[in-house]
Symmetry: C2
Subunit: 366 residues, 2 copies
């Protein structure tokens, strides 16, 4: 059976994905040679976005310089895009996912499955828990859901700069199918069956990035910053099992692109504003720096994130808070001193200067 692929989401990351898939399916025996792309019903210079994409083969709003492949069919009728698809690739901010899947679930093909490119977690403060985007998709639709997460700023991917990402898939067969759809000369994929770990790494590393930024702001030494980041990754590994036990999470997952490579990317990035940043995750390290580089007039986390557009994405502090509440409920805060310290610093309960003191009796060194 020739499978059809649809992509949902027309931001820069969705655009990068649809381009890679379209390049791969155009002369494929395995997949239908056209890719359907759901884009919002919006206008640019008196023409609809679909018309720009289908006639001019550009996305003038999100990635104006990119020439899109001819075999992409854009549509703002979501039903049409979804009902024929065997593989549904979703690149939405997590906060819009519930509405999306509730809207489309009644017209998904029986054997279709999802691939989530959504970096981020769904926080449920009222139930004091964290949900994975992929779990929400699975529960709402009854379909399989793979995840793809990695050190992948969209602007560099569409520029065809060498990039890696991690596919998390319990089914190796689906994982390999998605790899055939996405892998190009410039974008390389590795499959792991620890789908839960892949999704958590991509989000929880934002808390570690804030800690790294605090080290920068306080001008701590290189030994100290390296130790803080490493301890942070250990806590991420431990949290994978703490938050989602019996789901087969694996310590080795942090060695994938979704783990350490994401933070290497953060650390390489020089800019402290959002111009030219495709991946807003990078701003978490900057939040840490701003929190700690001015002791006499210390800004609040609110005043820092409010200055940043799209602040939903600068989410390390929000993750730290929700995780703190979960751990406090379970009397498990003692096992995660770094996550607790980042939360308390972000909430102005302790000073950034107290970060290291919080790590001095860390269970990793017991």
């Amino acid at each position: 059976m020739t499978k059809r692929v649809s992509v949902l989401g027309c931001g820069s990351w969705g655009t990068a994905i649809v381009k890679a898939v379209a390049d791969n399916v155009v002369s494929s025996d395995e997949f239908y040679s056209k890719v359907y792309w759901y884009v919002r019903d919006e206008e640019y210079e008196d023409r609809s976005l679909t018309s720009w994409i289908n006639q001019d083969h550009t996305n003038p709003i999100y990635l104006p310089k990119l020439k899109l492949p001819m075999n992409i069919i854009a549509s703002s009728e979501i039903r049409k895009v979804v009902e024929n698809a065997d593989i549904l690739m979703v690149a939405y901010p997590p906060c819009y996912i519930i509405r999306l899947v509730n809207h489309v679930k009644e017209f998904i093909k029986e054997n279709a499955y999802f691939v989530s490119f959504c970096k981020g977690l769904i926080l449920c403060p009222e139930e004091n828990r964290i949900r994975l985007v992929s779990d929400l998709i699975r529960e709402q639709t009854g379909k399989r859901c793979l995840v793809v997460i990695g050190a992948t700023t969209a602007l560099e991917v569409v520029g065809e700069q060498f990039t890696e990402a991690t596919i998390g898939s319990k089914s190796l067969e689906c994982g390999r199918e998605v790899k055939r759809l996405l892998q190009t000369d410039y974008m390389k994929l590795v499959i792991t069956q620890d789908d839960v770990g892949v999704e958590l790494c991509g989000s929880l590393k934002n808390v570690v990035a804030i800690a790294a930024g605090i080290c920068d702001g306080l001008q701590l030494g290189d030994n100290t910053k390296a130790a803080v980041i490493r301890i942070g990754f250990w806590e991420v590994s431990e949290l994978m099992n703490e938050l989602f036990p019996d789901r087969g999470t694996n310590y080795l997952t942090i060695e994938q692109s979704c783990g350490i490579a994401e933070l290497f990317m953060c650390m390489s990035h020089k800019l402290d504003d959002i111009s030219d940043i495709g991946d807003l995750d990078l701003l978490n390290i900057s939040v840490g720096r701003r929190l700690s580089n001015n002791d006499t007039n210390r800004p609040s986390i609110r005043s820092i994130t409010d200055k940043i557009p799209y602040r939903t994405f600068v989410d390390g502090a929000e993750y730290a808070k929700q995780i703190y509440n979960i751990l406090a409920d379970r009397r498990r805060t003692g096992h995660f001193p770094l996550f607790v310290a980042v939360h308390r610093i972000c909430q102005n309960e302790i000073k950034p200067q107290e970060l290291i003191a919080c790590l001095q009796s860390h269970p990793i060194h017991a």
Copy 2:
């Protein structure tokens, strides 16, 4: 039995170690309250180094600003320092180790063991193999040898900045004893039984650091640099078993301070000269940058390393060469494209610009 500790090596790292141990044993029931320190028979301002240490409690040559603990006894009589010791801590450059152990082996106590802080490998081009410093110590003396490696620039350790390191020890009992000797408020240790992996990580990451420097010099994107480093670490993990099979090496070892934290430290370091660098490993990233940032007049690896004092320590290119020769002999170069590419770039066989093309059919993405 109250055990006695001796430290051999009076450079900045040896000084940091003797200080940490002296602070810990001074009021210990378990260890003799004095630490013996073998220092070279050299003079400073017309007085011997031992006299500066024993009377003035300073090491004016290597760390003049540091006040040393009073319970350190320096001596330039190596026999005296070695023959009473139960635990022998060695912080020497690897190239001096053979002569050292051959000299001392006849007067070591029967149940004594070594702790090697020597970062680096012993290259044996004539036999086309690599030896571990700890293996050499074991073979020459018949004694046990632990290793301690981590993201530990000596200047920051003596400045009591928060630092981590990894103890590699097959014996957990000895590992815990060494941890009790070294761990302080500011220096934290984690024990792993993969002693071979610990020692290899600390050295082989220098090859990955050159690759990271090449990415910097070529101004490649952040996705690319993150991918290159991650792939490099995967090759380090694979090399652990390739070079030392059946020695119990473990992929998780690269998550310790001896692995990723070492490279986080490299990447955080801003300086491109050796002033204020305690750990000369940091220069490997700088070698990569210099190799690749000037295409019209490309410098040779020799001309770069010759400009750096103590060039024995800027050893990434030498490791890459020896490993290439071993892999070529085994027809295994195809499994390690990054190590092979770094070697070829350092030897001017290919241009730095070819690094990414070399990674495009990497076995990790098969």
